[in-house]
């Protein structure tokens, strides 16, 4: 394998933003026709590095060598001229343009629309990626959009294809399809730089992998020779704390009853919810899986009380109280905690201090006195309790929420809810964009909370997370919620089918 020639080599590449060193002299090489993994946690510097390879960022130091020759990649156009293509994590497609127009934008050569259509059809047949060239991007599913992105790169006949976290938006089945396309592509001699923080994928698809941690290369390994545990250790720097096994919780009374929930889409990009029913018992964690954009944020708005209706919503009882018309504040007073997905600006106000953020969801006694004046000692004490208990690293005392890293801010906003010991807790994407250490910590906190008898709904795109946390799982697809199934009856394949909108045919029905 090592007899293949080197395609691109990174020698001493560094990048700093102000005083922050995002990449510290990165050295590694990619061979021709190799699938090379770039593994690292969020914030390890993976995206910074590939943006330099693609000419979007300028290295502060260091050089790239392409086929042994020193090169400067000044812009994405130059990168494309070398034969570097990139599929971004957040797609760079234009929703209100057609597939053909989107592809034309990325090509340097002049094509007539007619030639381009033929080329697209030919290329998509070659790699088994079927796309209608005249359809608008906005009408495609996320998986299909990614195929357009890949196709767009393939049409440039790349020598190096960069894939930035490509599977984060795909169902397990779609990921399999993607892997087979990538393998086919690498057989044609194209090198692939595959970026991921998912160890199993790296192990499965890549021949070699480079592990980044804190902006530095930890090691480059042959993935066949290392175990996922070893990879995890290199990525995190220590043995990650494991998530506690769930104790056999006795599920108690039904705490939350939802049925006949219908929510019309209130803007062009929203998803309507159709006839959703769901019960949560004490001590139970219900996991709601699904690909982003299938109604998750709308469901969260309903649970938190940001959207209320008694007309299209039949039952929403918590502890036997009809809360359909309760404001978020009233819901909190009832003992319900909730945490929306976006921590910057939704669950926390980023340019407010931590104490002020604590106050936002706790504006009643003992923090507020009878005359509506804030009791500062109590507020500071509660904030410090949250910081101590949830191990939040702050740069200095009582900073603005924006100065905390993603993981620390997420621990803070979750801690702020959990410390009040809610009896019902609704949370969306609790560990999205959070490092492994904080992830494990947050999941353990949720399990502790459920063990104490709290009923929890976790909305998450991360199947691994739901398998670790949930007792029952249901899937949101285009605003419809599948029947909730105990974890034991489900596999990731089955959930993947539900995420893609297919029905599960249970054996008992026999058709």
């Amino acid at each position: 394998m090592t007899t293949k020639p080197v395609l691109i080599e990174s020698r001493g590449i560094s990048k700093s933003f102000g005083s922050f060193l995002a990449n510290d002299s990165i050295n590694f090489d990619i061979l021709e026709g190799e699938i090379h993994g770039l593994l690292g946690e969020n914030g390890a510097g993976k995206s910074t590095f590939v943006k330099m390879v693609y000419g979007l960022l300028e290295p502060s130091n260091g050089t790239f060598y392409w086929n042994g020759k020193k090169i400067i990649i000044g812009s994405p156009q130059e990168a494309r001229n070398f034969g570097i293509g990139m599929v971004f994590q957040h797609f760079t497609l234009f929703p209100t343009l057609t597939v053909i127009e989107n592809i034309e934008l990325a090509l340097n050569d002049k094509f007539t629309t007619h030639e381009l259509r033929d080329t697209i059809i030919k290329k998509s047949a070659e790699f088994g990626i079927t796309v209608d060239p005249d359809i608008y991007i906005r009408d495609l599913s996320v998986g299909e959009q990614q195929r357009v992105e890949i196709l767009r790169c393939l049409l440039q006949n790349p020598k190096l294809l960069i894939m930035d976290e490509p599977t984060s938006v795909l169902t397990p089945q779609e990921s399999e399809q993607l892997f087979s396309v990538l393998k086919k592509l690498s057989k044609t001699g194209c090198s692939i730089l595959f970026i991921s923080h998912k160890l199993k994928e790296i192990k499965k698809i890549t021949q070699r992998a480079t592990i980044l941690r804190g902006g530095c290369v930890v090691s480059t390994v042959e993935t066949a020779d290392v175990s996922t545990e070893q990879l995890a250790k290199m990525m995190v720097g220590s043995n990650p704390q494991n998530v506690k096994p769930k104790t056999a919780r006795k599920s108690g009374d039904i705490l939350v009853k939802i049925s006949g929930l219908n929510k019309p889409a209130d803007n062009p990009f929203a998803t309507a919810l159709y006839n959703i029913s769901l019960n949560v018992k004490a001590g139970e964690i219900i996991g709601i899986a699904g690909i982003a954009g299938n109604g998750q944020s709308e469901l969260m708005e309903v649970l938190s009380g940001e959207w209320r209706s008694t007309e299209t919503f039949d039952v929403f009882d918590v502890f036997g109280t009809d809360i359909r018309n309760y404001s978020p504040h009233k819901r909190r007073q009832l003992g319900i905690g909730f945490l929306p997905e976006e921590r910057h600006g939704h669950s926390a106000v980023t340019n407010m201090k931590l104490t002020e953020n604590t106050l936002l969801t706790n504006h009643n006694s003992p923090l507020i006195q009878k005359n509506n004046v804030v009791k500062n000692e109590n507020l500071e004490k509660l904030t410090n309790d949250i910081i101590d208990k949830y191990d939040i690293r702050t740069p200095f005392r009582n900073p603005q929420a924006s100065s905390l890293s993603g993981g620390n801010l997420q621990k803070f906003v979750i801690g702020r809810e959990i410390i009040k010991k809610p009896r019902v807790f609704f949370v969306a994407q609790p560990t999205w964009g959070v490092d492994i250490g904080a992830t494990k910590f947050i999941r353990n906190s949720l399990i502790d909370l459920a063990n104490d008898g709290c009923g929890i709904i976790v909305i998450s795109q991360d199947l691994e997370e739901l398998f670790e946390l949930a007792d029952n799982i249901c899937v949101l697809f285009r605003g419809k919620l599948s029947e909730s199934k105990p974890l034991q009856e489900l596999t990731s394949e089955k959930i993947g089918m539900l995420m893609g909108g297919e029905e599960l045919h249970s054996e008992s029905q026999g058709h």
């Binding site: 990168a79 971004f88 957040h90 760079t92 929703p95 209100t96 343009l97 034309e104 002049k110």
Partner: protein, 302 residues
């Protein structure tokens, strides 16, 4: 009689077509320039002043185009260079243009110039029914031609595709390696030139004298027209004639003592625009017509 009315309507629509076509390009690239009224006034006063001084209409027209372009450059410096809020900056530009044009024009109030000549000989324009279409000046024909060119540019050329792409998602366009700020600079300057030319048409043709604030809201109507035309150049032409007709009806109605209040007629373009906005925000594909990154400042990192 009817011919005269139709001719006035067509002429009234010319500055609207010019200014709105320019603004359409600006908005398609993702920038909202509410300073249209200010740029038109600057174009109008420069065109009148230079024509009066030099005695040449061509010099006047050029002056209008250049001063519209320079006024737009001020706007571009703020919203692109300093990433300021486009709505606030645009409003400020209108106030600035109104004031400065009044100052420059104070010496020219009450003076008269010779307007633009018609293109075709009188034998053509005297024909019944279709004669009126031959009774116009060069700028009027040019305005339709420009709208047509803009349509071909936006929807048939790669550059137009890139410009539209910048308005839909500047981050995606940047990632593909397009220079979003350059595209927007060009659009803004083009928009300024068109507004300047549209403004110049007023004192050179429509009413051959200068008076302060002589655009009397035409910049705002042109802005409304862009939305009314749902960002399609061809619809600008129909829309401009429609809005021009409403403006003229209001004057004609007053002269004939119609019972419809003129204030109601003058509010019609805006009511029509709000109606289009409602359509756009409702269901169906109309919602996809607006450039999705409109008014969002682009800040690139390197």
């Amino acid at each position: 009689m009817i011919d005269a009315l139709v001719l006035t309507i067509l002429m009234t629509s010319v500055p609207l077509i010019l200014a709105a076509t320019g603004e359409l390009v600006v908005e398609r690239s993702g920038v909202l320039n509410l300073g249209l009224e200010g740029m038109m006034l600057m174009g109008a006063v420069s065109a009148f002043a230079l024509t009066y001084v030099s005695g040449s209409l061509l010099v006047g027209l050029l002056a209008g185009v250049i001063s519209g372009c320079l006024t737009a450059a001020i706007f571009g410096f703020f919203v692109l260079g300093l990433a300021t809020n486009q709505v606030a900056t645009g409003l400020a530009l209108t106030i600035f243009g109104t004031g400065l044009s009044g100052l420059i024009g104070s010496d020219f109030v009450g003076k008269a110039i010779e307007g633009l000549p018609t293109v075709f000989p009188e034998t053509l324009s005297n024909m019944s029914f279709i004669g009126v279409f031959f009774a116009l000046d060069a700028i009027a024909y040019l305005s339709v031609f420009i709208a047509l060119l803009v349509w071909i540019f936006l929807f048939k050329s790669k550059y137009g595709l890139v410009l539209r792409a910048c308005g839909i998602s500047h981050n995606s366009a940047h990632s593909l390696g397009y220079k979003v700020l350059t595209v927007r600079w060009c659009s803004i300057l083009f928009g300024g030139m068109m507004a300047g030319l549209g403004g110049a048409y007023l004192p050179l043709m429509l009413t051959p004298h200068w008076s302060e604030g002589m655009t009397s809201g035409r910049g705002w109507i042109a802005l409304a027209l862009v939305v009314f035309a749902s960002w399609m150049p061809s619809r600008i032409i129909y829309g401009a004639i429609l809005f021009g007709a409403i403006t003229i009806m209001q004057l004609a109605g007053q002269a004939r003592g119609w019972t419809i209040p003129p204030q109601f007629l003058s509010s019609l373009p805006y009511i029509a625009t709000i109606f289009v906005l409602v359509l756009i925000s409702s269901k169906g594909t109309a919602k996809y017509l607006a450039p999705s990154d409109l008014t969002r400042p682009f800040i690139s990192s390197k």
